[in-house]
Structures are given as structure tokens and as C-alpha cells.
Symmetry: D2
Subunit: 134 residues, 4 copies
């Protein structure tokens, strides 16, 4: 079965670009963050990444491969695909498309923690299901 | 009497620039922030902007006039000049020079607050003197 | 006659905030930039800030007064009001509201330049009219 | 033979942090960029990432694993270790230490391109040797 996907539209802004005329490589993590934050708020229906006083999501790994450059004003589609690695770890596969062509692929991995102890905690099954069922 | 001044050296980095080939206008506030943070830590000898649990500095106003563009790799001097507006408000006049020519002028105004109440509080005279005597 | 205004909705993202739990003061210039870029593209109908090979807009001044802090997840309205200072200089007054209360006011001033000479140039009257008539 | 390493000292600034009280995950790529730019300028002796009109370095992959959070004011050591993957591709392994403990590991991969054609080009052996011999 194909993995579910969720798509967000985004524009490359002047502050995302650098003097090489392309989006700076770190700017892509803003695109990834925007897509994940909107997904969690609008579709899963939780505040993100600070869910409540006992549950925060923190990023534990990030990765991106830049296949084609993006430039000022480019309209891009950020495609997000979530997967539970464990009850504590969610991975979001991220792909960026422009005019139907994939320009970028990467992923962001988050852990669930209790901010009072800064220890990883298990998510309720119900929440994992909501996050991973698009 | 001439106002005291403090000078920091800085380099314009690729992530400061945009596709116009110049430092993005918001990047200058990173230069200002760096200069103020280093000044407060290295010369005044306090943590900044979170001094302790009862004293934070928060920015209440920022301003910059961009006279000449800055570009990737430019070596700049950020000149900081502090002034107490009141016992609660400190203003830092900021000037940026490249090769002896002023490229940018601006200021950042901060208030002293108690983060528990988020109310402005008066700084001790001794601390005001340390901040404003370079 | 009241000055015309244009409103954009925005959300404060995790990368806009800092360890004081508020939007970092430089992040507001991202909100201002977003509002201006969307206004110029969607309403005026031009690419921005690089209009074409002979016309760029460059920022020559920026200012913000932070009256109330903004925090992660805040839904804000960025209200933009353009004014022609001359045929070469446009000023955008910016106000940010949250829950009907003004939290921030500021402005951004831009010059029209020819990027080949980096000299200020006069805008056509027709374009000034389009930019300043909301 | 142990791989050569180069160390840069850095401070976590307020604008690197977010409302979780830790350095935002994308900020680490600023630390990586700073280390690489300083290394290339100060040790290799070339402008970076725009070497000249015929040679640019562009980032084609980035990765980071966040083992321990970094916080405002933390003094960190960014350890850089370069390796030639081919005559066109250089990989920088990056490790961040605080108080002797590794907090972060990652890498950045760059390609050499001719900006006029945006095609990958081979670096001269002499330049590869200078980049990879610390």
C-alpha cells in the first residue's frame, strides 16, 4: 500500500535566498518546519511542537538532498509523509516539487519528550494513529 | 564630551545575503545583536539577554538606515554606543563601517523586565553605570 | 481620508521565537517582508523585490516598535499601508494585530534602483498609482 | 591514520534558540556554515562559497543528528573534517562538542560548479589537496 502523503504549497521568499541566487540550504528546513507545523495543527489538531506542559516534540535528526536549486519566487509543493519508528519517534519524509519535478528530498525525525524531565516518552496509540493516518 | 564607543569585527556570511547579492536588511539585526551580546558578556560581564531569573532584557524598538549595501565576505566594524534613557530603558546606537566608510546606522532599545511578571523594572545604578561606561 | 490598508494573516512559527518564549525582534521583519511580497505579487501584480532586469526594490530603512510580545502559534494580522514619498521612494507603514489589539508598529522604506548602475530611478506614475492604491 | 580535524569556537546566540529553550535544529547549519567558511578563508585561503567567476561551491546534501540540546550562551567547539569524495564533491564531517561531550554530529556535502553553466566541474588536484590537508 502506498504511503499516505500530505501536500503544502509554499513560496521561496527573498530571505530564503542567498547571493548565489538560490535558496540557501538551511532555508529548506524552514519549508520542512512549516509543512510539519501546519500538518500537526490543521490535520492532527494539536499544538506543535509544544503540545502541552507534559509533551513536547523535539527534533533529533534532519537531512536534505538538494537535487535542483530553488530560486526567488518559486512556487513549491512540500509533500510530507509521516511514519512511526517507535512509540517515541516519528519520522517525516519530505519531498519538494516544482512544476512537477522533484527538487529536494529529505526527512526530519522527532522524539516525544516530557519537558520537565527532558526524557523521551511514549505517545498514546491514538495520537500515533492520528499523526500517521493522513 | 564624546560618547563612548565599542567596536566589534564581523564578517558578512552567505546566509546573511540574498539573491540581490547584498546582505538582507533583517540580517543587520544579527550584526547588532552579536555586538550587544558580546559587549554585555565580555565587557559588562553579565549573561545577556537573560541575566538571571529576575532580570531579562527585551527589545522594545529597532531601527536601521541602509546607506551602502554590504556583500558576501565584507569585513565590517560594528560600533556600539550605549545610553541610559531611564533606569528601565537602555538605547544602543549602532553604526557599521566598511573600509572606514559608514554603511549603516541604527539603534536598538531594550527594557529591563522581571520575566515572572513581565513588568519593566529599574536597573541598579551600579549596573547602569557598568553598561554605559565603556 | 483614511489611508488605505491591506491585511495579511500570519502565524508565529517556532523558528521565529527565542528562548525568552517570544518572537525574536528580527523575526518581525520576516512578517513585514511576507506582507509586502504578497501584496506586490498578488495585488500589484509584479515580481518583488526583483521586478525585472532594470528595476529592483531595495530596502533603505526599517523600524519596529514592539508593544506586546508575540508567542509561538499566535495568529496575527499584518496590516500594510503604502505611501509614495517620492517617485523613487515608497514607504510601507506596518501594524501587527493579535485578537484585535495592536502589538507592533513599524515601517519599511524602499528605493527603486537600476541594478546595473545601482542608482535610484523614478518609477512610472502608473506603477506608483498601482502600488499606493489598495 | 586518523582523519585530520579543524576546530572552531562558537557561541549559541539568542537568535539561534527557540521557545523550547534550545538551539533550533536549523541553527546548527549556521554553525556548520560558519566553520566551513572560516576554514576555507583562513586556512585554505580562498573566498567561499563564491571562489571566483568560474568556480562556486554549492551544497548538495546536509545532515545532522542532535544528541544533546544546546542552549543560549553555550560555548561550543565545531570540529570539521574534510574528505574528497571525487574531484567534484567534497564532504565535511562536522561534530559539535560542549564541555568535552559530543552534542551533535552531521555532515555537509558540496559540489564544485561553474556558475555560468551550473554544471559540476573537477577541482584542480592542488586545490583538493589544500582543502583536505588540514
Amino acid at each position: 500500500m502506498a504511503q499516505a502523503e500530505f501536500v503544502f504549497e509554499e513560496t521561496v521568499r527573498i530571505y530564503d535566498t542567498d547571493t548565489q541566487g538560490i535558496a540557501h540550504y538551511a532555508s529548506y528546513y524552514r519549508f520542512f518546519t512549516n509543512a510539519i507545523e501546519k500538518y500537526m495543527q490543521e490535520k492532527v489538531g494539536i499544538k506543535y511542537p509544544i503540545v502541552n506542559d507534559d509533551l513536547w516534540f523535539v527534533i533529533v535528526e534532519s537531512h536534505a538532498v538538494y537535487k535542483r536549486p530553488l530560486r526567488l519566487g518559486d512556487k513549491i509543493s512540500v509533500v510530507l509523509s509521516p511514519k512511526a519508528i517507535s512509540k517515541k519517534i516519528i519520522r517525516f519524509d519530505m519531498n519538494i516539487f516544482k512544476d512537477g519535478e522533484k527538487t529536494t528530498e529529505g526527512y526530519v525525525v522527532q522524539a516525544s519528550i516530557n519537558p520537565k524531565t527532558w526524557k523521551a516518552i511514549e505517545l498514546p496509540d491514538e495520537l500515533i494513529a492520528r499523526i500517521t493516518t493522513i
